[in-house]
């Protein structure tokens, strides 16, 4: 094996080389060694006079096996043929690969890759310095675990040294070099040092989330203007398709700078937590950002998240709940102290509905029977999903340790346990239910046309639906809808979602504190619709599914308050993983009106709201002339994206969203 390891190193397979060095030791130790070799040999990003270092794309070397934050490492199967066949095979035989154990077809009733986002404990690292981590690590009993953790620190140290040497060789800014001499092993003493550290650790963690940000940075704030440094950091997050940060609800002087720096940059997605009144300058700044096309910030109802988290996890103390932030798209997690599977997997409720409706509708005498049968079927698939996730967790905890996150996320060291084996202080798995609004609308149509008004038999209904008959579709559009603040429609929606979300109640996860439900569609709502036949919400075969819990476009034309009224009538807390709601408003809304809508929605139980203020004309023009609109940003699924980066289908769903005018 020693021989193989050498050959891999010579071939530029740094990670695989480290992994194959000590075959008699634990997976944890070997993975840590792999990371160490990677950090020793990887190419360093170019320095171009920036305020921070590193910058730009994190992984620039071409390797068949390369490290990754969610799955420990990945195999570059896409360019398989470009690698030495023998060495690639050797990697495959000796290095385990993340997999979902029971591979489900991704276009069926359940799908997902057991993905994990996190934000490491930046604050603790900057506030204590990694030297203090070393002391804690030395207390660990298990030899391989302890030495593996030390290898992580050694890797960080080697990488830092290499960065400094390189920066010296290109005569980089002395202040930057001096700061890197200190952090992250010694604690940061100034805001500037802390930010240099944040950026550095962001790269060490391979570029995921920033997490809760303003209350942490406030610790070092001393009146400095760091907007440029923050913008540099954000550009790095953007370059790596990184994710989210949170600010609020307490507003610090640094909060303004964090928000202002996000102007016109796609990532990070900025989450502004709100608890009651919002200071006028934050209101003005946020609405200005949104109207200038940033699509940032999105808004979080802080007290309700706190309440929902407390109800779901009564053991979590308040000081830990304070670390709440969205990660990945907007998945609920606790910065620096949690391992949240996000998103571990999804049930495509529209797919299940379609399958069940075509099979069973004709046999059900009452709507209640039909409905109960559907819930049973969705529950069955949800249970299958939980099992699949648990199998994957079991596999990951045995084969796919993550030593870097083990060191950087609490309390893995103190628990002496790998991050992927449940070492973090809090662990849960987020599952997503997609297509729910399509199902709600379909149920309303079936109830009205077949069971209440008895306009046609189930057989005729299905025939006309599956033939996508034009007049029949017009009839469907006339049914009572969710989204117009109608009690009768909304109560069905509430019950359905309650039953669906509650499938996670009391379910045990392989480790940690169970499952939480969510409604976060990322951009998958387009692909997940491709394999779903016509549904009675008026959706045709293969068309995209709903992209959030907002009513289906075109059915919500009553008014913006009615739409928000319907959404907030749902028991959203049950989708603690985050119930995403997208809303498109005309630019004419004043900042006051905008916040009236947000606060009214939150008072009624709304949990989060993503607002786009971009006109249909502007979006349509961007489809035709993408070059003119390279920087146009939109909120979709649960995150921010350049509009021109989306597929035409995704672009069309965003354009089709109802635009509310004052």
């Amino acid at each position: 094996m020693e021989n193989i390891s050498k050959r891999l190193l010579e071939a530029g397979e740094f990670y695989a080389s480290g992994y194959t060095e000590d075959c008699d030791r634990s997976r944890f130790y070997r993975t840590a060694k792999a990371m160490l070799r990677y950090r020793e040999h990887c190419s360093l990003p170019k320095y171009n006079g920036e305020l921070l270092y590193p910058n730009g794309k994190c992984i620039i070397d071409k390797m068949f096996v390369y490290p990754e934050y969610a799955f420990t490492h990945h195999f570059d199967y896409e360019s398989y043929d470009e690698y030495d066949r023998e060495l690639a095979e050797c990697c495959q035989n000796n290095i385990p690969m993340w997999h979902t154990v029971r591979e489900e077809p991704q276009n069926g009733p359940i799908y997902g890759g057991v993905y994990t986002h996190a934000s490491v404990n930046y604050f603790r690292i900057m506030n204590e310095g990694l030297d203090s981590y070393r002391e804690r690590i030395l207390k660990c009993e298990d030899k391989d675990f302890r030495e593996g953790c030390l290898l992580v620190l050694e890797g960080i140290e080697i990488y830092r040294r290499r960065c400094i040497e390189y920066l010296r060789s290109v005569s980089a800014d002395e202040k930057l070099i001096a700061s890197l001499e200190k952090i992250p092993f010694k604690k940061a003493d100034t805001l500037y040092e802390a930010l240099i550290g944040w950026n550095f650790i962001y790269y060490i963690d391979l570029c995921d989330n920033i997490g809760s940000f303003d209350r942490e940075l406030d610790h070092w704030y001393n009146g400095e203007d760091v907007v440029d440094v923050l913008r540099n950091f954000y550009r790095n997050v953007d370059a790596n398709d990184g994710w989210s940060l949170r600010v609020g609800p307490e507003i610090y002087p640094i909060t303004y700078q964090i928000l202002e720096a996000s102007r016109g940059i796609r990532r990070p997605s900025v989450e502004l937590c709100i608890d009651g009144d919002v200071p006028e300058d934050i209101r003005l700044l946020s609405s200005d950002l949104i109207k200038s096309g940033s699509s940032n910030p999105c808004f979080y109802n802080y007290p309700i998240y706190q309440k929902a988290l407390h109800e779901r996890f009564p053991k979590i103390p308040q000081c830990d709940l304070d670390k709440f932030a969205g990660g990945g798209c907007t998945e609920t997690m606790l910065t620096g102290i949690s391992r949240v599977g996000s998103i571990d997997g999804s049930v495509n409720t529209a797919y299940v509905f379609c399958e069940y409706m075509n099979e069973c509708l004709a046999q059900k005498d009452t709507f209640e029977d039909f409905y109960e049968g559907l819930i049973e079927r969705i529950t069955k698939y949800a249970n299958m999903l939980f099992e699949t996730i648990n199998d994957s967790y079991k596999y990951a905890s045995e084969y796919m340790p993550n030593p870097v996150r083990t060191v950087l996320i609490d309390d893995c060291i103190d628990n002496g346990k790998d991050y992927n084996a449940g070492g973090a202080r809090w662990n849960w798995s987020t599952v997503n239910f997609s297509g729910t609004v399509n199902v709600i609308e379909s149920l309303l149509a079936i109830r009205e046309i077949i069971y209440e008004k008895k306009e046609m038999t189930a057989k005729e209904f299905l025939e006309r639906l599956n033939a996508e008959e034009e007049f029949f579709y017009k009839r469907l559009k006339k049914c009572l809808h969710y989204g117009v603040n109608d009690k009768c429609a909304d109560s069905l929606a509430t019950d359905f979602l309650k039953r669906v979300y509650s499938t996670t109640d009391g379910k045990k996860s392989y480790f940690g504190d169970g499952f939480v439900s969510s409604s976060i569609q990322f951009i998958t709502y387009v692909r997940r619709g491709e394999n779903v036949g016509p549904t009675p919400d008026g959706r045709k075969k293969g068309e995209p599914l709903c992209d959030s819990l907002a009513p289906i476009f075109g059915n919500d034309t009553k008014s913006v308050t009615s739409t928000l009224g319907s959404v907030s009538s749902l028991d959203l807390k049950l989708a603690l993983g985050t119930p995403v709601v997208n809303l498109r408003l005309s630019k004419k809304y004043s900042d006051e009106m905008l916040f009236t809508l947000i606060r009214g929605f939150f008072e009624n139980g709304g949990m989060m709201l993503q607002i786009n203020c971009i006109s249909r004309e502007e979006l349509e023009d961007a489809m035709v002339n993408p070059d003119k609109h390279r920087n146009l940003l939109v909120r979709t699924g649960g995150y921010t994206e350049y509009f021109v980066n989306l597929s035409p289908k995704e672009q069309r769903t965003i354009i089709a969203r109802t635009e509310y005018d004052e």
């Binding site: 603040n485 009553k558 006051e592 916040f595 009214g600």
Partner: protein
């Protein structure tokens, strides 16, 4: 002309989330029935006290569903659907079957509870925007019993109330409700009684007298002058209207809003089988700005919208 059934009112529609009918975010309750019949009325379907069938030709796809549901009223010809409104009793059955969304009923009976349920839905949005409910129409003051119950209920629930009215009702009606109203929007259509009668069906004597009286008693009134080309947009009439407001004595804050003409109601006229009279082109920005300067020289608190 109070509502016959004491516990229901004729309601044309209720809209939510409006920002144009008073302060903040508002729910607007449109009452059916109006004592005037302004020829330019933007809600002509709200004028009669009874429901009328509305058919929007531009939306009709000639699917023939309505004919199947109600043969007495609908017929299919080579030119499309023909309608005999005299046979329609406003039951509304055809509406849900119309595949083109081309049919509507101008008003329906709603109970107090149902109306208030709609008003209550946006309570949180009123709170943060300073909004509330606006009673409009038609003429909301023509169904005073229901209006008063709603106003009283809103007052106890802390919901801001606004009334849009042409004020052509006995003063006792206004006297019975004004204490529950936070603000009024009152139309001034023309200062000449005969022209007023010619275009609206009634003179302006009672209206102006009611305005003088309410002015003694209420603190928040906005006067609205809809500009109708060739009818009331002469400088002479506008000056008189502004003078009238300026000369009012009482405790109320006075505001005047002069509204630009538009012909957006044309499809509605066609939908109820009435001819739409187009009084002319909407005023240009230059004309409006000239008007504003001139009227402001007479009275400072004039907005031209």
């Amino acid at each position: 002309m109070t509502n016959k059934m004491s516990d229901t009112a004729n309601i044309s529609k209720i809209t939510h989330g409006s920002t144009e009918d008073g302060r903040g975010i508002r729910t607007v309750v449109f009452f059916g029935g109006c004592g005037l019949g302004c020829r330019w009325c933007h809600n002509p379907e709200c004028i009669p006290p009874e429901p009328i069938l509305m058919h929007f030709e531009n939306k009709c796809i000639s699917c023939g569903q309505c004919v199947k549901i109600c043969r007495e009223v609908f017929g299919m010809t080579a030119e499309g659907i023909v309608i005999d409104r005299t046979k329609c009793d406003g039951c509304g059955k055809c509406i849900s079957h119309c595949l083109g969304d081309a049919l509507a009923i101008s008003q329906c009976k709603m109970t107090f509870e149902k109306i208030f349920e709609e008003i209550e839905k946006d309570k949180s949005y009123y709170k943060y925007s300073g909004g509330g409910v606006t009673f409009s129409g038609g003429e909301c003051l023509m169904q005073p019993k229901m209006l008063k119950s709603l106003l009283k209920k809103c007052a106890t629930e802390g919901i801001n109330t606004c009334i849009e009215s042409c004020f052509d009702v006995p003063y006792e009606v206004i006297e019975g409700i004004y204490q529950y109203v936070n603000s009024f929007f009152i139309d001034i259509k023309h200062m000449d009684p005969d022209i007023h009668r010619y275009y609206t069906g009634r003179g302006n004597g009672r209206i102006l007298s009611n305005i003088r009286k309410i002015f003694q008693n209420h603190g928040d009134i906005t006067f609205r002058i809809p500009l109708i080309p060739g009818v009331n947009d002469s400088m002479e009439n506008l000056e008189k209207s502004v003078d009238f407001v300026a000369s009012l004595k009482g405790k109320s804050e006075k505001r005047i809003e002069v509204l630009k003409y538009n012909d957006l109601a044309a499809p509605k006229y066609r939908s109820i089988g009435r001819n739409f009279v187009n009084f002319g082109k909407p005023q240009s920005d230059d004309e409006l700005s000239h008007l504003k300067t001139h009227l402001n020289s007479l009275y400072e608190n004039v907005k031209v919208i």
